[in-house]
């Protein structure tokens, strides 16, 4: 069936062959609340071995009198509910996930296994240091590895995600300038930057000043020199940039900033293009964050948890968040809270420790040779896609690509088809869409990042799909405009969702018949 040409209202118009997928039934499943009925149970507590508590007596007015309307279900129903929901998701485990900037690479299962070992999963953050040496060793070993990988001098693992790392990094920057007598006023941010960068600078009390990219999508050094002054705290730069290009004049950028006392902050979202090949600390970066859920393979989990360690140069060391891990003379490890110049704490306890375990397992599985090969394969894959698709989609910047390639929908726009439509049609071919309409400097961007985790076969299927969609745009545009056709739900009414928000289930269980299964329908 998968290789049978599909027909549409357009009759003889071209409809691609979907090689990767065939239609397949998924189960319908209502909300938990619609399945609930009183008296069903999915739990059994242990026998209470102390006298039962009288809540009214112990808590008085503070006792809860009405039970919350949580669903009442048996264990099998819970298993089926969430298993059914899971089958409605696309995932790396199903196939290529070419989201540019997001780095959807394979998430090794051994990482999950070791993070669940009892002594690790059950470690309480306040258990005595003498009984936490294993946990501290994980922190310390990961810190050392990340410092070496980035070429920086020191690090904090505390930030909970990339944006939280940015926040921490800019706080360090601010503390550094304050220690010199002036926090300075502004942070420069290229127009190609992630939205988190300006939001972060604002949260840290800085004015955001936009830095326009040059015709190659890179930092315009002359323009930078004009804008950097003694009120500039830092430039927040993503390198390779969001169009996947290495800032070849990075040392000049650093020099311009340093000559005015400003710092170079690197958004490490794209560190997977550099790992083992070059080190930010060597090319002039003062402070940067890493996304362990990107470069170091911790799972995205449908939107978190992430982890955003911040590595920096020695000049920023005094300001690192409290606590830091330090080695005792006898080789044991401790947490050091005595840090008078620290920016403070950015998160309770020590960060997303479970993610450190996974990232370290990934580093150990790779070693220096594996990390380098990983980076090379990621860059190889992106360039292979670029080569195979540049005849089909407009390539706005011809500068050499690293781990991702950004096309635009300029050619397809002539037929009334936008990047978002092509992305939706890609779903019918069995792929997750690429990143749509980002970076903002490319109108109608298609941002494609294959990562190293794709085989040549999977890449070829993707390329084939993209090429066929390009032909569909020419010969059968309606098919693309109305995509996706093969999913459980069609394009969603997002306007109504925002105008009349329904953010929780309300009211009596719905007894409407289940919706017709659209997934199995041929089109």
């Amino acid at each position: 069936m998968a290789t049978t040409p599909e027909t549409t209202e357009q009759g003889s118009a071209f409809t691609g062959n979907r090689q990767k997928v065939a239609a397949h039934l998924t189960q319908n499943e209502p909300l938990l609340f619609e399945k609930s009925s009183p008296g069903k149970r999915g739990y059994r507590l242990p026998l209470l071995d102390v006298p039962a508590a009288d809540a009214a007596k112990l808590l008085g007015d503070a006792a809860r009198t009405e039970a919350p309307e949580l669903p009442e279900l048996s264990e099998i129903e819970i298993i089926r509910h969430f298993t059914r929901l899971s089958t409605w998701n696309y995932a790396i485990d199903l196939g290529m996930y070419p989201l540019g900037s997001c780095t959807m690479k394979y998430n090794p299962r051994v990482n999950e296994f070791v993070s669940r070992l009892e002594g690790i999963a059950e470690a309480h953050p306040y258990q005595p240091e003498s009984l936490s040496q294993g946990a501290l060793q994980v922190l310390h070993t990961l810190e050392k590895a990340l410092i070496e990988i980035t070429g920086m001098d020191t690090i904090t693992l505390q930030p909970a995600a990339g944006a939280h790392g940015e926040f921490t990094g800019i706080l360090l920057t601010r503390a550094y300038h304050e220690s010199k007598g002036n926090p300075r006023r502004k942070v420069l941010i290229p127009d190609s930057a992630h939205g988190t960068n300006p939001a972060t600078a604002a949260v840290c009390g800085y004015q955001v000043e936009n830095l326009r990219s040059n015709q190659h999508g890179m930092v315009d050094i002359d323009q930078l020199a004009k804008q950097v002054d003694d009120q500039t705290a830092a430039l927040m730069l993503t390198n390779p940039s969001t169009i996947g290009v290495f800032e070849a004049e990075i040392h000049k950028i650093a020099d311009v900033l340093h000559s005015k006392g400003a710092l170079l902050y690197m958004d490490g979202a794209n560190m997977n293009a550099l790992c083992g090949k070059t080190r930010p600390g060597d090319f002039g970066v003062d402070v940067m964050h890493l996304n362990l859920h990107k470069t170091f393979s911790t799972p995205h989990g449908g939107g978190g948890p992430g982890s955003g360690p911040v590595a920096c140069k020695k000049i920023l060391e005094p300001f690192l968040p409290t606590p830091v891990v330090r080695e005792n003379v006898d080789g044991t490890l401790r947490l050091d809270y005595d840090r008078p110049h620290s920016v403070g704490r950015v998160r309770m306890f020590y960060g997303n420790f479970g993610m450190f375990v996974r990232a370290l397992a990934y580093i150990l599985a790779n070693g220096p040779d594996g990390l380098r090969q990983t980076t090379e394969d990621a860059v190889l894959n992106a360039n292979y896609i670029r080569k195979k698709l540049e005849g089909y989609y407009e390539l706005p910047y011809k500068t050499p690509s690293m781990h991702e390639v950004v096309f635009s929908d300029k050619k397809q726009q002539a037929r009334g088809i936008k990047t978002g439509d092509i992305a939706k049609r890609l779903i019918d071919y069995g792929f997750h869409p690429y990143t749509v309409s980002f970076p903002l400097i490319v109108p109608g961007a298609l941002m494609i990042e294959p990562t190293e985790s794709e085989s040549k076969e999977e890449l070829d299927l993707f390329i084939d799909a993209m090429q066929q969609i390009a032909r569909e745009v020419e010969e059968n545009p309606l098919l693309v405009l109305q995509a996706p056709h093969a999913t459980r739900v069609k394009r969603m009414d997002e306007t109504t969702a925002a105008r009349k928000p329904i953010l929780r289930w309300k009211g009596a269980p719905s007894r409407e018949p289940l919706t017709v299964d659209t997934a199995a329908k041929e089109w």
């Binding site: 039970a67 509910h81 995932a91 939001a199 070059t278 948890p305 950015v346 150990l364 009414d493 329904i502």
Partner: protein
């Protein structure tokens, strides 16, 4: 390298098709002087069995087989095994943020169910998809209150988790938020007179925690009345989500910031956990973080989408309500499954077991010398003991019997003297409590021995 699905021959053929003579051609844009000409100085590549051994060895150097009375913002509860079985499905584990609703309805519906259950538990009207954790969530809630009221100062109860307060201080320092500490009374609760006296027409919000850091349940209706009289919002932080099975929800609050770690999330040496912000619906537009909403597709089929993203950084950039991007989706899913397993009756039964264990433990441990502080106040499953000796000395001795005692409050509340914070949950057995009580009573008369950290 076993994670890389390519042979060298394939690499070569791909390079040929690209028109590159070697892989180095593709890195030519990196100036030669910055190219790393050596191996990274990190541990060598390991086999899977070696990796497992490495972490087993690390795990063995942590506490194993100890009875524990630690709580203080990280709670040991039983985690039903179905949670791990379900969240390890690749379709949840290896999926991205659900920006493409057609192929992420599973994650989106689960978030919608999470939001609904959080509203039910907290008595709020809306809830977001999650925040990093309780500490950053509380700080974001304060920033939200500042935006809502247009006022700039915050009154923060000293009974809020000290590390939450430290995080708030870090967040507030560059936003011109003036932060004042609200003291506690003899009963271990917010001092209502001090609250009344410190509120001004510039107070954006009052932040309290309930049950508070001492395990004492605050008088939320009274605090709300005082705060609202001056036009300030009330933010209630909840560090122990299971308390909501037995403790009345803070309906009078304007914003609730909760840590949901207790809902099936491993202690994992402090993270990842799961924060969430819930609030009155009128504050929706100032809510940080992601929100899932119900809608229909073009055929009229019910479905869910991430919505109201015009609040968020990827649209609003420097004008966003927060810089938060990634949140804690998979951990929120754990909490969702946990809440489904226990359900309406189970959450109450579970909370009552915790209440009973703590009641028994607080009585058993406060005989023979140790004094129960704030004894007359309503408590959930934590309590403060004051001893003659420093808690560290007592705890060091308890370790010999494989017991981890309560958290010494020396660092956070030196004014309480030799105080420590103890926690009992459904996993604490009577036998453990009785044995600890016996050791505490026995230690009372012995001399302090060597203190090791």
């Amino acid at each position: 390298m076993r994670y890389l699905p390519k042979s060298d021959a394939e690499r070569k053929s791909m390079l040929r098709e690209i028109g590159a003579s070697s892989i180095d051609d593709l890195f030519a844009s990196i100036p030669g002087e910055y190219r790393l000409a050596r191996d990274l100085d990190i541990p060598r590549q390991m086999g899977e069995s070696e990796i497992v051994d490495f972490f087993k060895n690390a795990a063995a150097q942590n506490a194993n087989g100890y009875a524990s009375f630690l709580g203080a913002g990280a709670y040991r509860h039983y985690r039903p095994v179905v949670i791990d079985a379900l969240v390890q499905r690749g379709e949840f584990l290896t999926s991205y943020t659900p920006y493409q609703p057609e192929i992420t309805q599973g994650t989106l519906q689960a978030i919608f169910e999470f939001q609904t259950m959080i509203c039910e538990l907290t008595g709020m009207e809306i809830a977001n998809a999650s925040m990093y954790d309780g500490s950053t969530g509380a700080a974001e809630a304060v920033m939200m209150a500042v935006r809502v009221t247009g006022r700039s100062s915050a009154l923060v109860a000293k009974t809020v988790h000290p590390e939450y307060r430290e995080v708030l201080a870090t967040y507030a320092q560059h936003q011109n938020i003036d932060k004042q500490v609200l003291s506690y009374g003899e009963d271990g609760r917010v001092d209502l007179k001090a609250l009344d006296a410190n509120l001004t027409d510039q107070t954006a919000c009052v932040l309290v925690q309930s049950p508070n850091f001492f395990g004492v349940v605050e008088d939320i209706p009274a605090i709300a009345e005082i705060a609202h009289k001056k036009g300030a919002l009330l933010i209630v932080s909840i560090a122990e989500a299971i308390s909501l099975g037995a403790v009345r929800p803070p309906r009078e609050a304007d914003i609730v910031s909760m840590e949901a770690q207790s809902f099936g999330v491993a202690l994992s040496y402090g993270g990842p956990y799961c924060g969430v912000i819930a609030a009155k619906e009128k504050y929706l537009r100032q809510m940080p973080g992601r929100l899932a909403g119900q809608t229909v597709d073009k055929d009229g089929t019910r479905g869910f989408v991430l919505t109201l993203s015009t609040r968020e950084q990827h649209i609003r950039r420097e004008k966003a309500t927060s810089n938060i991007c990634t949140n804690q989706a998979l951990v929120a899913l754990m909490a969702t499954i946990f809440m489904s397993v226990y359900g309406k009756e189970g959450i109450r039964e579970l909370a009552l077991q915790n209440l009973a264990k703590a009641q028994y433990a607080s009585q058993a441990l406060s005989q023979n010398g140790a004094k129960l502080l704030f004894a007359a106040s309503p408590r959930f499953h934590e309590f403060v003991l004051v001893t003659d000796e420093p808690a560290d000395a007592i705890n060091a001795r308890l370790l010999d019997d494989k017991i981890i005692g309560g958290l010494s409050l020396q660092r956070f509340y030196p004014e309480l003297g030799n105080a420590s914070l103890w926690c009992a949950t459904e996993l604490t057995t009577r036998e453990q409590i009785d044995q600890t009580a016996k050791l505490l009573a026995g230690s009372h008369s012995t001399q302090p021995t060597l203190v090791h950290a």
